[in-house]
Amino acid sequence: MVRLFISRDSTALSLGADKVANALKQQANSKGLNIEIVRNGSRGLFWLEPLVEVETDQGRMAYGPVQAEDIASLLDSGLLEGKQHPLYLGDIEEHPFFKNQNRLTFARVGLTDPVDIKDYISHDGYRGLKNALNLQPADIVKHVTDSGLRGRGGAAFPTGIKWNTVLNAPADQKYIVCNADEGDSGTFSDRMIMEGDPFVLVEGMTIAGLAVGATQGYIYLRIEYPHAKIALNQAIESAYQNGYLGENIQGSGKTFHLEVRSGAGAYVCGEETSLLESLEGKRGLVRYKPPLPAIVGLFGKPTIVNNVISLASVPIILDKGGDYYRDYGMGRSRGTLPLQLAGNIKNAGLFEVAFGMTLRELLYEYGGGSASGRPIRAVQVGGPLGAYMPENQFDTPLDYEAFAAIGAVLGHGGMVVHDDTSNLANMARYAMEFCVEESCGKCTPCRIGSIRGVEVIDHIIDNVDKTKNTELLRDLCDTMLCGSLCAMGGMTPYPVLSALNHFPEDFGLEAAKA
């Protein structure tokens, strides 16, 4: 029996992975070859997907990008023995894009069968939970605090402090909520974890439950991720069957229940209080803070709301200790960040690395420059609410504070690359348009400001009272920045102002007048 690996990741599927798997199965059957195809997560080198890996005596050998039509020639040239072929890549873990990463959170993604709990356990899975079951809640929280982990959803709030608040909030019921509403364009790390190693999220949430005394967890998953939902539900079912969820977890007497809930296509529900409203079955209107969700959260109870990557980083912290994780990174940005290279980039994919690498190194050394071969003009880092960074900022190290210092945001680690054919005035207009579309409508600066923003940018582009309207746009952005309830209206000015400041020529303005 020869084991082969073809990804079940959405992006691999979007490039024909299912067809490749079916063709391989059929042709191997008709040749009487004894094979097993494991549908793994993606290694994250998406320009090489669909990737086919075969287990040989020399290790796992990869081929890619493979299409269904290539299967016949692959089998003829000795695919099952890992022999040469024009699509042969060798051991994918030796590929520079893979080898130079620090895969902590993504350690198993692409390696294992995502929904096989035995495979998970044999690759160091559930070691963190095992340790946590022998610790007092405050000690679990201490490990997370010591790790220096900060919220990977984008806000970078220290996770340990949030957990400690919930731990110390007395209540008859507490909740763990995973924010899996990954709506930022250019981001897909949450999706890759959920599809490629769902158990690590389940384990992280279970540990969070033990840490603060919560017995119920919810994963609020965006509706745009149907494949993640399937993988999560398979993993949750298996965890229940094997005593890793439910009552008396591994004989400890501890209880934790977990359920996936689907969103319904509202970007603002990625904001934690809007998400809680949605989970309660309401319109996703943002809540006033305080009270913080850690005190008054889901159904009015103390609630941890954490991003997928934050929670998925907890098992390795509890397995190897907070110090191990903290030893990666720079300054106050500790550990690793799974970066996502997207848009107009040659080598698009996922790159998990310790904080500190420069944007330039990532874009050119590993990203290989633009996909179109034209010069990279701007990179929007941190999603639709992140700043557009021009070439002269590419030497900024990937670090929360270094980005904040230049008015940019690292956010969830997504990078959308634009070449020199992109018009940044149009992108600024789109940022306002997106805010019109997605504003929850509760506060005026966001609801009305975004509509006025589209109008004012149109005036500038159409050359109507240019100087006056540019001044008006800046004033409007100031109102939105200072007066909005949440990041939706409060950060829409980031892409707008950065476009205006760094690319005034796209607005028909001279640099000095912008």
């Binding site: 959405s10 992006t11 599927l13 319904a264 296509g265 509202a266 290279l341 959308v416 789109y430 997106f434």
Partner: protein, 158 residues
Amino acid sequence: MQDYQSQKPIVLDILDAHKTMPGNLLPILHGIQDTLGYIPPSAIEDIAKALYLSKAEVHGVISFYHYFRTTPPGKHTIRICRAESCQAMNGKALENHAKQTLGIDFHETTSDEHFSLEAVYCLGNCACSPSMTIDDEVYGRVTPEKFDQLIAACKGTK
């Protein structure tokens, strides 16, 4: 549009199945839309009654979320991503091509009721932009030519 009386038992079953679930309105709406393809406006009264909400509250929730619809969709729903990453890879051209080819705008259904067209803001397939989905299938690096092939394949499987 179908007669609500034939749909009502399905709606009531879904309401009953979610009776004790905390925060059950979204799961109920998903259940109805998954089964019927949309949420019949006449169902709002039944939902409101079962959940002790006003009809306005239920309507408010349905209308807040882009995903929920109150009209029957075409046989296939196409969602084209409009977000930044896809724009950086000329997603606008795909969007225009799709609208022109199908002869409809976003939130519309072709007159043969074969396709509904919706905008979507990110499918998490940003490493292979531009992206779109047809029903639950994701497609990456979609050129206008590839779009035409996918549409033709859909029509072939009537």
